[in-house]
Amino acid sequence: MTSLTSVLRAAIALHLTRPDEQSLAIALAVSEQTNAYSPHYDSTGSTGSTDHDPDPDPEATRLRALVDLAKDGDSEAFGQLYDHYVTGIFRFVFYRVGSKHLAEDLTSETFVRGLRSIQRFNWQGKDFGAWLTTIARNLITDHFKSSRSRLEFATETVPEGRSDEAGPEQEMLVHVSNEMLFEAVNALPPEQRDCILMRFIQGMSIAQTAAAIGRSEGAIKQLQLRAVRSLAGALPPDIR
């Protein structure tokens, strides 16, 4: 009963954002098939706090409906998906490449490829956010293969963060953490590095991370523990 209510709530929410009959019909059709979608994934919020949501189903259902609408030719639905995932993808790329401009280029290419391939996307085994992250991951790998560029954090291109409510002291701490974070994360082995980026910086769930990396959920749990241990050892004691 709770699930049905949440699904209907998501359908109505989608209808309110896109007040046309086709969108509502498709959204309701999606809500009827929500069991087939097996919505056990948590939502992929960009704030990093999605795992704390007590009821992630409405957001997950809304995202699935948006993907179906986009696959059916609705460009605005893809726009809403972009709005939802762009920060997470940018953040994942930025903390891998260390350059704002390069991160923007690779983020753009990730969404362009996602747009061109979304009609071939299926839900079997992979969440849409995990699918986009896999595209970004492959693009980063290709970039470093082709350019043989050296990882170097460009301090002058540190993106602006959510520092509106932060005081000057905390802002300084965050800025320092950005540089240290980049160096510490990229010093990790590749799988630990990607696990850290996806789980704690991009905010993906265990299931989404497992789908993106191609490991089991149990393996991801152990991987993230090892990664956090390694990272804790690499950070200065006064910061961690």
């Binding site: 795992d51 696959k71 726009g79 953040r91 974070l181 993230q224 523990l225 961690r240």
Partner: protein
Amino acid sequence: MIRRGAPHDAQSFDDAWTSGDSSSVTGEIAGLVGTADLLCRSAVAEPDEHFRSELRDRLMVQAAEVLVAHPAPAVVEPVRRPAPAVPAHPVRRRLVGLTVAAVAGLGSIGMISSSATAVPGDVLYPVKRGVESVQLALHRNDTSRGQFQLDQARERLAEARWLDSHGEDGRVAAALDNFSDQADDGSARLFMVYNDQITTSNSSSSDAPIDAVNDFAAAATITLNKMSDDLPADAQAALEGAADTVTGLASQASSLCSSCAPADVSSLLVAVSEALVSTPDAPDAPTATSGSHPERSAATTPKPATPDRSGPPKSTPPRISPPALPTPKKPPALKKPPAIKKPPALKDTTDPLVGGLVGGDGGLVPGLGKK
């Protein structure tokens, strides 16, 4: 102190992190949860608003071109959709097409090769006849076409003999009728070639077309003689028609080329006449038993009714005498002076040849010679 296992630590860490309640863990795990929380708080990089909106606008423009509706699974992609935007697996399509073509081609080749040994009544027999028609059309001159048609007639005769030996009595008559038709067509074509040689160029004229007809007649005589022993009653009329055809074309060959070695078909007429006499079912057969002048007797014998013949009725008398072809006769004086030759011993030479051709393991009709 007993250290807990890694899976337990991993689960404890994930539970604490997922629930947001680090009070349930202590020690190292609690510290690691704090480190993870520091990571989340530190990773505040966000794309510029300008970049975000510009990329969104660009994606919306591309989405209007790239994203197309799929109302039904069978809808063909619109032409306006750029080909490189969403590759439609061209390699896979080509692979599927090539596979289908290969399977179809191999199947066709197998079917055609299997049809080579088909006999009337088999499923693949029409395929065999179709292939022969194609082969005939591929011959470029009348000599090779006539020769090929005589070969086809030999094949029909071999089929008739195989059917006769295997008790397929109902189909023997049709096979013999086909033999007669193709023997008529092939010999007429060769006679025409021979007449053209006479009228156009004396120097390059050759007796090969007539020799081919004579050889064919001699070989067919042998086979028909063997078949006449135990032919079913309803095939007697077809046998007589085939005998008329052979004797007719042999007669025409000898009249066109007096110097060529004529085929000995007299034994055929005797055998056919005897077969007709010994067959009580054959109507009006005794009229052909005068024997002293077998060729004339065969020519004047009224043809019995052929109720079982599947092909169109034939006019028997023109096959025997006179020759039915409207080709001009070559005056004997224009050719070589008639030389008296010993009657050909073709029977002796063609017996093993025909036997090897139509029967045996390597022949056209395997197992025929085993009877």
